[in-house]
Amino acid sequence: MITMTTDPILPDELRDNLFDPGAGAYCAFEGWVRNVNEGHAVERLEYEAYEPLAIKEGERILAEARERFKTLHAHCVHRTGLLEIGDCAVWVGVSAPHRDEAFLACRFIIDALKVRLPIWKKEHYVNGDSGWVNCGRCAAHGHSAA
């Protein structure tokens, strides 16, 4: 299940949804808002999503992870709106029979989310400027934000 929300992400509560009698492992990833990107001091982030498709594509990614790594449960929550430094922007949680599948599925999901979901991030810098962030793969092609 993937959820988009403007409310704070509370990982402990989300973790409880992944309990399963057959699960021997739980792995989670939290993406946090940090105060610097590519040398720019960042004050806050703003996430924009096209939710209908973000959810549709996100469910596809989670289904792929379940199929590929035989996980028991795989969930994701992504924030939208204005976020402050230290806020949790994205959470991915996976339960599986064994740790290898849990680690691998968690990594697969967060990597896929970052390049496939219609979500954009605008950085607001301490100096008053702002700029849309490009994904790493695209940045490698020479585009810079702002």
């Binding site: 924009e48 096209y50 954009w120 849309w132 585009h143």
Partner: protein
């Protein structure tokens, strides 16, 4: 000519000054829509770095567009 509803997101929306507009375009594919609206979204990225959806389904850039379709133009994504 086809009437296409074009939706812009993030930097494309800011460049175009609107989130959505109905345009009459001489286009066959999603890539044609991207090219025909270049002066609106002013993408600095080649089409291959961007994504497109047609009527709420992710699509390939060579997918055909029909009269009445809604085409979603997505700049390079950056979730997480």
């Amino acid at each position: 000519m086809k009437t296409i509803t074009v939706r812009y997101f993030a930097m494309f929306r800011e460049h175009a000054g609107v989130g959505e507009e109905s345009l009459t375009l001489d286009v066959q594919t999603a890539a044609d829509v991207f090219a025909a609206t270049r002066e609106r979204h002013r993408s600095s990225e080649p089409v291959g770095h961007c994504k497109v959806a047609i009527n709420d389904d992710m699509a390939d850039w060579d997918a055909p567009v029909a009269d009445g379709d809604t085409v979603f133009l997505f700049p390079p994504v950056a979730g997480g």
